[in-house]
């Protein structure tokens, strides 16, 4: 009984990690720009597929491949911001969101052209037998995924609280105009937010691909789940996305395990609707803060 529960819990934590990373990616960009970047899921796919390209196709060493993958995802984020978001300079948020959707289609087009429509995977980060925790069988990669997510959360926390750039980005989130007045280069912060968010997404993709495979069109579903995670925890709140991501992941795997696998997406969405109707600012959010948001 407990064994089965633990098994579901760990599989929930694994998917939840990726949702949390995607959700944090949403928050990073949302805080700097108020834009919802629906190409966030594609960053994860870029991470998984580029990792395969560097490690399995070019046979580069593991660490080098990871670094190159994260850098190339950062480059994708940079190009996206430079080529679409910056020239547009529009205050029409709906238009900006539509642009991120169309960029995601372009990215999918490029990925489909480069990698075709097959699923890809590569070996797990460490070899060895699966672990036995309380009777539940846990793949070692599961621990990698959860550990890497934890590391990302800590690094992002340190970045936002201890570095000058991070603090400047938080200032932009509170009030863009005021941030500009005290001499913060807001457009650079926007650029950094896209790079950072692409890197966070790619890290999720790198970690999860050995478990769940990666296809060129995995992006939209990941974006929807990550978006739900961010909303559930209160849009713009770092901790919120983490809690939202893990709750959605665990709910999904519990539903799939105890009820019916076809219903797993529905349950997460129903819970999300309830959260929205009962407490629109998210589990952690305050309604006063939500009212201040521009969109």
């Amino acid at each position: 009984m407990l064994t089965v529960f633990l098994q579901f819990l760990f599989s929930g934590l694994t998917v939840g990690s990726v949702y949390a990373l995607v959700g944090m990616g949403f928050n990073i960009i949302y805080n700097a720009t108020s834009i919802i970047n629906l190409a966030q899921g594609e960053f994860v796919v870029v991470g998984g597929l580029m990792m395969w390209f560097f490690s399995d196709s070019l046979h580069l060493p593991f660490i080098v491949s990871i670094c190159l993958t994260i850098l190339s995802a950062g480059l994708v984020g940079l190009l996206m911001e430079r080529l679409t978001i910056r020239p547009l300079k529009s205050h029409d948020l709906l238009l900006m969101i539509m642009v991120t959707i169309s960029v995601s289609i372009v990215l999918r087009g490029i990925l489909a052209f480069k990698f075709g429509k097959d699923p890809y995977d590569y070996p797990a980060f460490s070899e060895g037998d699966p672990l036995n925790i309380g009777g539940a069988i846990i793949q070692q990669q599961t621990l990698w995924v959860i550990g890497i997510t934890g590391l990302c959360i800590i690094l992002l926390y340190l970045f936002y609280n201890k570095t000058i750039i991070g603090k400047a980005m938080r200032a932009c989130a509170v009030d863009t105009t005021a941030a500009q007045l005290v001499g913060i280069n807001v457009s650079r912060m926007v650029m950094i937010s896209f790079v950072l968010s692409a890197m966070v997404g790619a890290i999720g993709g790198i970690a999860i691909t050995p478990i769940s495979l990666m296809e060129y069109d995995n992006g939209p579903m990941l974006a929807v789940k990550g978006f739900c995670a961010a909303i559930m925890g209160g849009l713009g709140r770092g901790r919120g996305a983490v809690i939202g991501g893990f709750s959605i992941g665990i709910l999904e795997s519990m539903t799939a395990g105890y009820l019916h696998s076809g219903l797993k997406d529905a349950v997460a969405l129903v819970i999300l609707l309830l959260v929205l109707f009962l407490k629109p600012a998210g589990i952690l959010g305050s309604s006063a803060a939500a009212r201040l948001r521009k969109f």
């Binding site: 679409t84 959707i101 169309s102 019916h260």
Partner: protein
């Protein structure tokens, strides 16, 4: 309804009559049918977004309800098609009210995600409990009114675009009615309209129901045309596509919905020759048109025409 819009409707009717006469190709007319079906939903979303200022990412849900309800009723119970289409619209309208009452307290992103969840839940429900499950079902009767069966592509083209014209006329009257003016006030400032004594919530629900009914009608027309439906036609991707049509056409004008729907329906067909590049080129065209058209094609065209003709043309 002002003079320019009446004129435009007349031009549209003329184009509708002439397209099948000029082009004998069934392929072109089929694309025309799908453009018309998409235009119906896009017009609904235009009213919802451009006039009531509400976003919806769940139109595919109502589209799906329309298709499934009228298809099931006609296929399994043998009821007359127009009756079932109307029944489907009523079911969608009810669903819209149920969704709207709690959702419309929400704004912006939150409303978007609530409608998105609704659409996805409908899609999952169709997959799980819909007739035929994920593989759907066929043998849906073609649209017929009494003894007349719309079994040729051309007759169906006239049927669909006839509906588009009726929906347009109804919509223009709606947005120029008392409710429509109230809506524009609401779009301008919700607080001010509340202070003027408008029942804002009732207004929003009304518009939501209208857009759901249009989407449902489109869904029914789709089901009775292709005579086979499965949940894969009613996904989030479709909702986003409709949103794209409306944004590219221009949300502030109902014609934007029509023009956007036609363009987005034709585009993938034109890109067939690019083969494996098609998704890439499609994405690039969408990105560029969003970046350079901004407010949408139709408002931009109207502005240009205004510049050419001077102040003669009426606004709207």
């Amino acid at each position: 309804m002002n003079r320019d819009n009446s004129l435009a409707v007349l031009v549209l009717i003329a184009v509708i009559i002439f397209v099948p006469l000029v082009s004998g190709s069934a392929y072109v007319i089929t694309i025309g049918v799908f453009s018309g079906i998409n235009a119906l939903i896009a017009i609904g979303l235009c009213i919802l977004m451009g006039y009531a200022g509400q976003v919806s990412l769940g139109q595919a849900g109502f589209y799906g309800i329309g298709a499934y309800v009228s298809a099931t009723l006609t296929h399994h119970y043998g009821l007359p098609v127009p009756l079932c289409v109307a029944a489907a619209m009523i079911v969608s309208a009810f669903a819209a009210v149920i969704l709207a009452v709690p959702s419309l307290r929400l704004k912006g992103h939150y409303l978007a995600v609530a409608t998105l969840s609704f659409g996805e839940i409908i899609n999952i429900a169709l997959n799980e409990w819909g007739p035929g499950g994920p593989s759907g079902f066929g043998d849906i009767p073609t649209f017929n009114i009494l003894d007349f069966i719309f079994d040729t592509t051309t007759s169906y083209f006239y049927l669909v675009w006839g509906c588009v014209v009726l929906v347009l006329l109804f919509s223009f009257n709606f947005i120029n009615s008392r409710t429509g003016r109230a809506l524009r006030a609401l779009h301008g400032s919700e607080l001010a309209s509340r202070a003027m004594g408008l029942d804002v919530t009732a207004l929003k629900i009304k518009v939501f129901v209208i857009s759901a009914a249009y989407a449902s009608l489109a869904g029914s027309l789709y089901a009775h045309y292709v005579t086979f439906i499965s949940p894969s036609s009613f996904t989030l991707f479709y909702s986003i596509l409709v949103l794209m049509m409306v944004v590219i056409g221009g949300i502030t004008n109902l014609w934007g919905g029509v023009v956007g729907a036609i363009l987005i329906t034709i585009l993938p067909e034109l890109l067939r020759s690019f083969e494996e590049f098609d998704v890439l080129v499609y994405g690039l065209i969408l990105t560029l048109s969003l970046m350079f058209l901004r407010r949408g094609l139709v408002p931009l065209l109207i502005e240009k025409i205004k510049q050419l003709r001077g102040p003669l043309i009426a606004r709207d």
